[in-house]
Every structure is written in C-alpha cells, then in structure tokens.
C-alpha cells in the first residue's frame, strides 16, 4: 500500500463518523430543533454497537443496535423538548451528560475486549484495481452510507414535498401549523433521524474506526459535528466537503508526528478543536451566508397559539 493511498484511506475513516453525525443533526436543525445531545447519542451508539457485536459476533447486528440506541436517546430528547417544551439547549446538554455516564457504565464490562470489525464490502474486480480499488471500492457499509445519506437528504430537502414541509416547519412553525401541518410530529421524525445518524456514527467508531470500546471514545466528535452543521450553512453538499476537511485535520496530527516533526503531540491533538473554532469564526462572521439558510425557528419551542 502506497503512502498516499494510506493517507486517503485514513482521511475517509476519520471523516465518516463526523459526516454521519452531522447530516443527522442537519436534518434535525432544518426542522427548527437544536439537539446538543449529538455527543451523547453517538457514544451510546458506540457502546451499544460494540456490546451487541461482541455478544452476538455480528458486526451488522452491532450497527443496528447503534442505530437503535441513537434513536432511543433522541426520543428522550424529543419527549422533553417537544411534548414538555423544555429548553432545547439544556435538554441537549443533559442528553450528552447522560449518554457519557450511561455509556461508561454499560461499557465497563467490555473495556479491553477484542472487537468485531465491520467487514469491507468486497466488490469483485472493482476492489482489486490498484489504488482506485481500495479508495473507491474498499470500504465497509457505513462509509458508503455516510456518502449516500447526505445525497439522499439533499434530494429529499430540495426535490420533494417532505423536504419542503421540513423547511417550512423550521422556517416558521406558526405558519406551518396554521396550514394544518403537525409541527410536533414532523420534529419528532427529524429528531429521530438525527438520533439514528448519530447512533450510526458511534457504531462506526467502535466497529470500524477502532474496533474496541474505550470510554469517551467519541472525544468531542459530536460537538464538532454540531459545528460542522453551522459551517455547512445547513446545506448537505457543503457539509460533505466540510466533514472531509475536518477529517483531514483530525488525522493530520498523526502524520506530522510520523514525519518526526518536533511539535508536541498535545498541540497536534488539539488541532481539530482549534480548527473548529476557526471555522466557526469564519462562517459566523459572514452574516449573509449564515442568515439566509439558518432555520428561523431554531431552538424555539413550539406551542400552538389559540
């Protein structure tokens, strides 16, 4: 395997969890809901995915369990914020804190155990082409999913009535309600989709990225996914580009170190976080770009008027 090939492959693996989690949150936010619990849903997806795969021996069952865990967590959030109308910021935070705690408890029994790695989907002939084969056709199902989902989301959002309804609910929930749309139900759906994607992202971490369970193994990726959504200005295609940029930064540290450059490892490890801050500064400074696509109702609870 050539060096370039290895670099590209690691960029893909580093970007995939960010992309998965962020595309789910993008849909949630498009419907007008800010779910800060991505980190918590992701880590629960990771631990449940690992535990299921380890117990059953099937990585695919693990993926399903990760997805389910994300959805269950997101439904807790949805019940509080949509039915009980609690603060979305505070509830999202508590979802993250709960997820981190719960995953630690569940995962304790699985720490240090050998994991089940998600297998690469081997496509005859195509996967065997040198260089191009491994890069384009040598991945597991979640990598393909991480690319297919944003394209599907873009199609639904901009080409279908469902997408129009989601944008409408996020843009002006009172108008949507007046036209007879069930705002709460649409939002429940979008929150569940966000949870499912975060769960998949977590499952990717514990079944493919590093196939084992390590406490807090999401290490802030959920938060970076949230920043990515802002960075993408809520556009799926821009989100894909952004996720790969961030993924590149994430693994850059490893390679710079491997080259023997005398930079403290900690500085390199902090690069993704610093780059996230810089990205937020750049995009937030551009008012016209952000304001046009920002879902106008984001973070606001919806109570039907009389």
């Amino acid at each position: 395997m050539g060096a370039l090939e290895a670099v590209i492959l690691t960029i893909i693996t580093a970007s995939t969890p960010l992309l998965l989690a962020a595309i789910g949150e993008l849909v949630t936010e498009r419907s007008g809901v800010l779910n800060l619990g991505v980190e918590g849903m992701m880590i629960m997806g990771a631990v449940c995915g690992f535990a299921t795969a380890y117990t059953s021996g099937s990585a695919m069952l693990g993926v399903a369990a990760g997805l389910l865990a994300g959805v269950v967590m997101s439904m807790l959030f949805a019940f509080l914020t949509q039915t009980l109308m609690t603060s979305q910021v505070a509830t999202g935070l508590s979802l993250t804190l709960l997820g981190l705690g719960l995953s630690g408890l569940i995962g304790e029994a699985f720490t240090g155990l050998p994991g089940v790695k998600l297998t690469v989907l081997d496509i005859p002939f195509l996967s065997d082409i040198p260089f191009i084969g491994p890069i384009l056709f040598g991945h597991d199902i979640l990598v393909y999913a991480s690319l297919a989902i944003p394209l599907g989301v873009a199609y639904v959002l901009f080409r279908t009535r469902l997408g129009l309804i989601i944008t409408a609910v996020g843009g002006n929930h009172h108008s949507a309600h007046a036209l007879g749309y069930n705002v709460i139900r649409v939002r429940y759906g979008c929150i569940a989709f966000g949870g499912a994607c975060s769960g998949l992202a977590g499952a990717y971490l514990s079944l493919a990225y590093t196939p084992q369970w390590i406490e807090n193994m999401s290490s802030g990726r959920g938060w970076i996914a949230l920043a990515l959504v802002v960075f993408s200005t809520w556009l799926p295609k821009r989100l894909m580009i952004g996720a790969y940029l961030f993924g590149t930064v994430w693994i850059m540290g490893l390679y710079v170190q491997a080259l023997g450059v005398a930079i403290p490892a900690q500085l390199l490890s902090s690069l993704p976080y610093l780059v996230t801050i810089v990205a937020l500064i750049i995009i937030s400074g551009n008012k016209t770009l952000t304001k046009v696509n920002t879902p106008a109702c984001i973070g606001q609870p919806f109570a039907p008027e009389r």
Binding site: T83, M85, L98, L100, G101, L226, V230, Q266, S270, L280
Partner: protein, 359 residues
C-alpha cells in the same frame, strides 16, 4: 390518552421549589430499579449512596471538599444561564485557572510568604476569567456560537495541561511521573480544622452570598435577568447584550479558575494530568438543580457532592462501578428539566381521539 399542556397565567412559585424535590424523588426511584436490575437490594444500595456519606465526620468533610468547587463553579454558571449565555466550558476555565495559579510554585518553588497564597488565588481567578473571555470575544466580535467554542476550549485546555505536566513543568525529582513539584507551606490552602476541608469552602460560601445579593438586588443583576429573558427588552432598557456576555463569561470563568487553583493547592497539592473529576460539567447540573439561584446552588452542590461520594462508596461496598454516579447526575438533570415544565404549565391528560386536538 395524550398529554396536553395548559399554560399558567403566571409562573407557579410552589412548583419552583417542588420541581427539584420531585426530580430527586424520581431519580431515587429509577435508581432503585437500576440497582434491582443489577441484582442488589435497592434500599441498601440507596442508603449507601445517598445517606451514608452524611453519617461520619470523615465523609462529611469529604463532602464539603467536593461540594466547594461544584458550588463555586455552579454559582457562576447560574448567572450565565440566567443571562442565556451558554458557558459549558467551565472545565477548561478550571484547568487554566489551576495552571495560572500553579505557575507560582512551579517557577518560584522556594518562595514562601502569605503573599504566595493570595497571588495564587488571584492568578487562578484571572486565568479562568481570561480563558472564559475567549468565547465571549468570539461571540461578541464574530457571532460564533459560545456553546461550541467554550466546549472546544475544554479539550484545548486539558491538552495544554497534559503537555505541561509531561513536559516543561514536570517535577525533575519526580521519577518521570507526569506531575509538577509538590506544593508546600504557603503554596497550599490553609486547612479548616484537622481534616481535609480547606478555605475553598469559605470562598464558595462567600461567592454564593455576593452573587445572591447581586442577582436579587442590584441593577447589574437586573440587567442580566432582563437580557436573559428578553434581549429586545434589554436593549430597550439600555442594557448592552455584549457587555452582559463579557461579564458572565469572565465572572463564571474566574470562579471556575478559583475552583481549579483550590483543587491543585488543596486536595491534590500538585499538578497532575487530571485535576478534576468533571466538576466543570457536573456544575451545569448544579446550576439547573439550584434553580439558577446562588442559594439554590449551595444546596444543589452538596447534593451532587453526595452523588460523587455515594458512587465511591458503592464501588467499595457493593462492587458496582463508580460510573453510576454520572448516570444518576445525568438522570437528575433530565428529571429536573422535565419537572420544570410544571412551573409554566399545568399538565392535563386528554383522551387520545376526538377531543381538543391542537394538531
């Protein structure tokens, strides 16, 4: 059946106090079920968790040691959240505060004077405030979301600490352990009594009292409350939102920094790669459980400290993971948010079909 919320014409004062009680009750009940699920006697487990930490002098002292930083940080966060300023990076501000304060014993190892202690505390607060000022600057100047920036900075601060204790600040006589020189004499916080309780506890109580007066009586506190409830009305009143963002971040940062230096100059006595068991995050729960009220934070801080101690006790006596503490804390925040709905709404159960649907 479906749940219908009916808005109260005014907030329920009774529910403001009842909601946390209800939330604690729910957490205990669910906790009992979890313990039962783990095959334990739920009553015994709950006793060990929540009551035992308050039955001996030793554990009460330990309780105070753990409650002090939670209260210091939680009181500052309560002010932030009242203003709708979402500082969730207190853990990072705590870390930087500890680093600023610890710079004195690290660089002036032999210096002994009461001034050292004062300087360390002041530097701790300054460090936390400056680190807290970064997200404030980014929000005010560029409109960058403070939730994300303050959280990102936690990772940066922890990596900086890690680098220092493994690199330039490592104790040359420390057998290559990742830790700084041990602090001595005036570099350590004076103890109250025989045990481990240090003056950090007094600082926490003083901070609570000052913030309580500020929030309840002063124009500054009024400004913060108005901006939090209704920024537009705040602008109409002539209050500057940006000024409030600066103030809240620097205040809560300073208090977190103070908590940080109190940790390293108190229980730890030196810098280590990890200086807090997540106080900065747990303090978020403390702030909400304390109704964003400084006095409430005092009680909430003690309660959350109990959950830390209970977690340790449960690990020793029951052989279960101390991670249960974190789960309890997360659940508690969930329940308190859910119960707070009762402050603003009455809950009614309506038959699912046919009747008053707001769908």
């Amino acid at each position: 059946m479906m749940i219908v919320l009916e808005k109260r014409s005014e907030q329920s004062k009774a529910m403001t106090f009842l909601s946390p009680v209800l939330a604690i009750g729910l957490t205990v009940v669910i906790g009992g079920f979890i313990f039962t699920g783990l095959g334990l006697d739920p009553f015994k487990a709950l006793y060990i968790y929540f009551i035992e930490p308050m039955t001996s002098i030793w554990s009460v002292e330990e309780l105070i040691v753990k409650a002090a930083p939670l209260i210091l940080i939680g009181a500052g966060l309560a002010v932030c959240y009242t203003a709708n300023v979402w500082n969730i990076g207190a853990e990072g501000q705590l870390t930087i505060g500890a680093l600023f304060g610890a710079a004195i014993p690290v660089y002036f190892t032999a210096w002994q004077s009461p001034l050292v202690l004062v300087l360390m505390l002041v530097l701790g607060a300054v460090g936390g405030a400056l680190f807290g000022a970064i997200p404030a600057l980014l929000k005010n100047r560029f409109g960058a979301n403070e939730i994300l920036t303050s959280l990102m900075l936690v990772y940066v601060a922890q990596l900086l600490l890690d680098w220092l204790v493994r690199g330039p600040w490592r104790d040359p006589q420390g057998f290559n352990f990742p830790q700084s020189v041990p602090f001595e004499g005036w570099q350590l916080l004076p103890l109250l009594g025989e045990g481990r309780v240090h003056i950090g506890a007094i600082l926490a109580v003083v901070a609570v009292i000052i913030l309580w007066i500020m929030m309840g009586r002063s124009l500054r506190g009024f400004e913060i409350r108005v901006i939090g409830r209704s920024p537009r009305a705040g602008a109409f009143a002539g209050f500057g939102q940006k000024r409030v963002v600066w103030f809240c971040f620097m205040l809560s940062g300073a208090l977190a920094g103070l908590a940080g230096i109190c940790e390293v100059a108190g229980p730890s006595g030196q810098l280590q790669p990890t200086i807090s068991p997540g106080y900065g995050f747990t303090a978020i729960i403390v702030a909400f459980l304390g109704r964003l009220n400084p006095i409430g934070v005092l009680f909430a801080g003690i309660l959350l400290a109990i959950s830390y101690l209970g977690g340790e006790a449960a690990q020793v006596e029951l052989g279960i993971s101390d991670k249960t503490a974190q789960v309890f804390q997360g659940m508690l925040l969930f329940f308190i948010l859910a119960c707070d709905t009762l402050i603003h709404y009455r809950i009614k159960f309506a038959p699912g079909a046919g009747a008053a649907k707001e769908a």
